[in-house]
């Protein structure tokens, strides 16, 4: 039996080098490209023949637009609509990535910390730059000093604020990565139980873990949705903090 962690192994499909950097096209990149193609296909067919009474696929696209715009409206407000394309892309990229990972024999690129961290760090940088450009550097630094606090307390509070600001990309990326990685490892482990117990007890022993596996697969699909949602909503919150510094 392969190790439960074997599913996360990266394999190079096309070897590519730019200078000293290894930019090979891996199975991870392949699944990323597949998710993008999948999203674009749905959007393309959803927006092809627009009708007042939408077809199924058109209403799917419309609902997803409404979903993201409501999320932005709730968490940022009207000025957040500028960032709708970004958050829409982010949400569906991660969602489809998670869901494609649920398919047998495929690969979950969201279960790699470097990928989620790169996305989260980019969001962190973007939010910081939005805040600086919108409010100026001084006001942005004032974000770390809560108002109405006695001066000596600032000595303690400013580092705390800075630490909690820097921890944002880490908590954002670790949450997605840990959930996906743990879920898929667990599925594989329980799957191993099905095989081993079933083989040693004339199939009877494998029934219980198999039932478990089915339930866990459902749970994992829910988690795939939830984590994409949480990722998008936290991005909204960070952009909200950047737009309305307080």
């Amino acid at each position: 039996m392969a190790s439960p962690l074997a599913q996360f192994e990266i394999s190079k499909l096309i070897q590519l080098n730019v200078g000293d950097f290894d930019v090979s096209f891996t199975n991870s990149s392949l699944v990323m490209v597949l998710s993008v193609v999948f999203i674009l296909t749905i959007l393309f067919f959803g927006l092809k023949n627009l009708k007042i009474v939408p077809s199924k696929i058109q209403s799917l696209v419309e609902l997803s637009y409404e979903f993201i715009s409501t999320m932005i409206g709730d968490n940022i407000g009207k000025e957040g609509l500028k960032y709708l394309p970004f958050i829409f892309t982010l949400f569906f990229f991660i969602l489809i990535g998670n869901l494609i990972g649920m398919m047998p024999l495929s690969f979950t690129w969201t279960s790699h910390i470097i990928v989620t961290f790169a996305i989260a760090f980019f969001i962190f940088l973007a939010a910081t730059f939005i805040a600086i450009f919108k409010h100026g550097l001084l006001k942005f630094l004032g974000f770390f000093a809560p108002s109405g606090v006695p001066k000596p307390m600032l000595l303690l509070l400013v580092p705390i604020e800075i630490i909690s600001y820097i921890s944002r990309p880490i908590s954002l990326s670790v949450r997605l990565f840990a959930n996906m990685m743990a879920g898929h490892t667990l599925l594989k482990v329980i799957g191993g139980f099905v095989f081993v117990l079933g083989a040693n007890s004339f199939i009877i022993g494998g029934v219980l873990p198999l039932a478990f596996l089915v339930a866990l697969t459902g749970l994992e699909i829910v988690i795939a949705f939830l984590q994409a949602y949480v990722f998008a909503i936290l991005t909204c919150l960070y952009i909200n903090d950047a737009i309305h510094l307080h």
Partner: protein
């Protein structure tokens, strides 16, 4: 038939007026789930960042455990501050 048309027109107009691009969601439960999931990892991430800053400064000034300890405590404090804030936020949403 005429009446029905009028009624429908009225309804469409009403809908158009308070449309505001779908902003009028009264379901805040979804963002509550988000806040709930957020809390757990925030605590750990803050401690981790504190430790990393502390270790980095210790390496820079070669003062081994001093900054590590200071920033470890600050990280723990930051984690709890974040947790506290998330819970206050949750309460606010609940009251709405």
């Amino acid at each position: 038939m005429q009446d029905k048309n009028e009624e429908l027109k009225k309804k469409i107009n009403e809908f158009k007026q308070n449309k505001n691009i779908g902003f009028k969601s009264n379901i805040n439960t979804s963002s509550m789930i988000g806040s709930g999931l957020k809390i757990s990892i925030d605590l750990i991430a803050s401690i981790f960042v504190g430790i990393m800053i502390g270790l980095g400064m210790d390496k820079l000034f070669s003062t081994k455990p001093i900054f590590f300890l200071i920033f470890l405590l600050l990280g723990v404090a930051a984690g709890f501050v974040k947790m506290y804030r998330s819970i206050i936020n949750l309460e606010k949403i609940k009251k709405k």
